[in-house]
């Protein structure tokens, strides 16, 4: 089959690779109909995430048609259309039982789990198309993908619903949603969102659906701020404005009740020295992610809540632990427990309460994936989201 493979820094290529096959009883094989490039794919592209191997098939946002089902899967049927969560979860361990699917104990192969156990104290769950620290499972920027535990993850999509409407159930919509859920929004609340990339934009939408009185969004890309405004947020351009002062003024001197860091610093990966270097450089939000989180902690009102969907990998310097403690803040974070939210979010989409199609700026053939990566990285203002389709015919 054809698949987008990682070769090294700024080097991804569509190549012919072996077709996936059923390995375990609960596996299924999906013929991919749509797959997207995620912001976190860019950090693989920049070669700042450890544990990549030349030839890895990327992609963790994908959907398609079930073409083969293993004998241990009593749920999925050939021909069904499904969206696949990026987190691979078994559904049967202690963590899955608590719906903490992103903490699944059984999806990361035993020989791969040592690295994250060393880095974080306990081994992490597996994900598609990512580092071998999270399993090294081939991803979905391909014609076909093998989906383990396919009786747990994939959500079946009713006929007649376009791919574009539901594709983002795979990652960024539930990620934005969980970010808002983690804010424990109360009536009258103001929620501030740092970063108007896909996750930030979906967090804005989600916060409003979950009852936020007001959402204030912070970014510097004009197009992304326009999108935030079109979703109902008030916006702040951090290149022009002293953000925390503005937030205090806009909230009557109280401060935002909850703040979402949708920026993250995953590009720093697990390398503390790299991280320290970055802290020393200028403090624009898009390049110095520590600055964003520090700003979030300083901006949140006393007794408020902080939610971090942005991905962090290593250690932080000059973390304002005093502000966190003295103001009595609550902080929630984590990789997204996608499976927990799939059905609820599908229902909201089908009821017309959430629309995610506005985000898609470009649709490309899978064969054009390398160009998609380059543009998504270099032209962030225009390339808000790239969707790849195998054998795509432009209308």
């Amino acid at each position: 089959m054809r698949a987008l493979t990682w070769q090294g820094k700024h080097d991804v290529r569509v190549e012919t690779v072996p077709d996936p096959r059923i390995i375990n009883p609960r596996d299924a094989i999906i013929r991919i109909t749509s797959t997207a490039i995620c912001g976190s794919d860019l950090h693989l592209y920049d070669d700042v995430i450890p544990g990549m191997k030349s030839g890895d098939v990327l992609g963790h946002e994908f959907m398609g048609e079930v073409v083969e089902v293993g004998p241990g899967n009593q749920k999925l049927k050939v021909g069904e259309r499904v969206v696949v969560p990026f987190v691979i979860a078994c559904g049967q361990c202690f963590f899955c039982g608590k719906q903490q699917f992103a903490a699944c104990d059984n999806s990361n192969p035993a020989e791969k789990a040592d690295a994250s156990e060393l880095a974080y104290g306990y081994p992490m769950a597996a994900a598609f198309g990512y580092s071998h620290l999270t399993g090294g499972y081939p991803g979905g920027q391909a014609e076909y993908a093998r989906v383990p535990f396919s009786d747990i993850g994939p959500i079946v999509i009713p006929d007649g619903v376009d791919d574009d409407k539901v594709l983002f159930l795979s990652d960024i919509l539930p990620t934005g949603w969980m970010a808002a859920v983690n804010c424990d929004i109360e009536s009258g609340d103001t929620v501030a969102v740092w970063g108007c990339g896909p996750v930030g934009l979906f967090a804005i939408q989600s916060a409003l659906v979950l009852g936020a009185h007001r959402v204030i969004a912070i970014d510097h890309h004009p197009h992304r701020l326009e999108l935030a405004k079109s979703l109902g947020a008030e916006v702040i351009n951090f290149e022009e404005t002293r953000v925390n002062e503005a937030l205090a003024e806009l909230t009557g001197g109280i401060g935002p009740d909850a703040c979402i860091d949708a920026v993250g610093m995953e590009s720093h990966g697990l390398s503390p020295d790299n991280l320290l270097d970055h802290i020393k450089v200028k403090t624009f939000m898009a390049t110095d992610r520590v600055h964003a989180l520090r700003q979030v902690i300083m901006a949140t009102r006393k007794g408020g809540r902080i939610s971090i969907p942005g991905v962090y990998g290593g250690v932080a310097d000059k973390f304002p632990i005093g502000a966190l403690m003295e103001k009595g803040l609550t902080l929630k974070t984590g990789q997204t427990h996608v499976q927990k939210f799939s059905q609820q979010l599908l229902d909201l989409i089908l009821d017309g309460k959430l629309d995610t199609t506005f985000l898609i700026s470009h649709r490309l053939d899978l064969e054009e994936a390398a160009e998609g990566y380059k543009n998504f990285k270099e032209k962030q203002n225009e390339f808000t989201k790239v969707v790849l389709k195998p054998k795509f015919t432009r209308h």
Binding site: I23, G72, C90, P109, A110, P138
Partner: protein, 190 residues
């Protein structure tokens, strides 16, 4: 050689987690003279009898332990183990079950004079807070070729501590999900 340690307060922590673990203090049969103590605990969301039964039949062990060339039952208590070591080396020994309590405990030791002597115990305890079964493996061994052997084992991925950790993970995967996680990546085979 077992290290001699004096403690004023032992606390409740397992001996294997001591900063200076004493293999002789782990309560294992026939552990005299062994130099390395390893302990690892996992919680498995299945009834303990089921876990015990699978583990008790040594023919199942290659399902979740790698580096096994063969494990051959000799009689109900004894089995012959052949394991891969660093490079082309092979380690062989005969293991004897020296104590068992069905559904709860299996304790074993190597038979006779061997340069890979080891002794161990696995217990299956009902989780007191309703989380399934707590499985605790404890074993001691004499590293072949001493400290150098330990280093070689570690860099060649044949370290017993690593093997035990990974075997318990696979055992848990198998018992909880019915399968063992496999990335199925062609890249892994390169």
């Amino acid at each position: 050689m077992a290290k001699k340690t004096t403690r004023t307060t032992r606390g409740d922590a397992p001996e294997a987690t001591a900063k200076d673990p004493n293999p002789a203090a782990a309560g294992l049969a026939n552990a005299e003279g062994e130099d390395t103590l390893i302990g690892r605990t996992v919680t498995i969301n299945r009834p303990r009898q089921e876990l015990y039964d699978l583990w008790r039949d040594v023919r199942n062990i290659p399902l979740f332990m790698v580096d096994v060339v063969s494990i051959t039952p000799l009689d109900d208590l004894r089995s012959r183990w052949v394991m891969k070591g660093p490079g082309d080396t092979r380690f062989e020994w005969t293991s004897v079950i020296v104590e068992e309590e069905p559904g709860y405990l299996i304790s074993w030791a190597t038979e006779g004079d061997t340069d890979v002597s080891n002794t161990g115990r696995i217990v299956f305890i009902d989780s007191p807070n309703g989380r399934g079964t707590i499985v605790r493996a404890t074993f001691t061994y004499d590293a072949p070729a001493g400290a150098l052997g330990k280093l070689v084992a570690k860099v060649t991925q044949h370290d017993p501590r690593m093997q035990a950790r990974r075997a318990l993970r696979r055992f848990k995967q198998l018992m909880e999900t019915g399968e063992i996680a496999n990335a199925g990546s062609p890249v892994d085979d390169r």
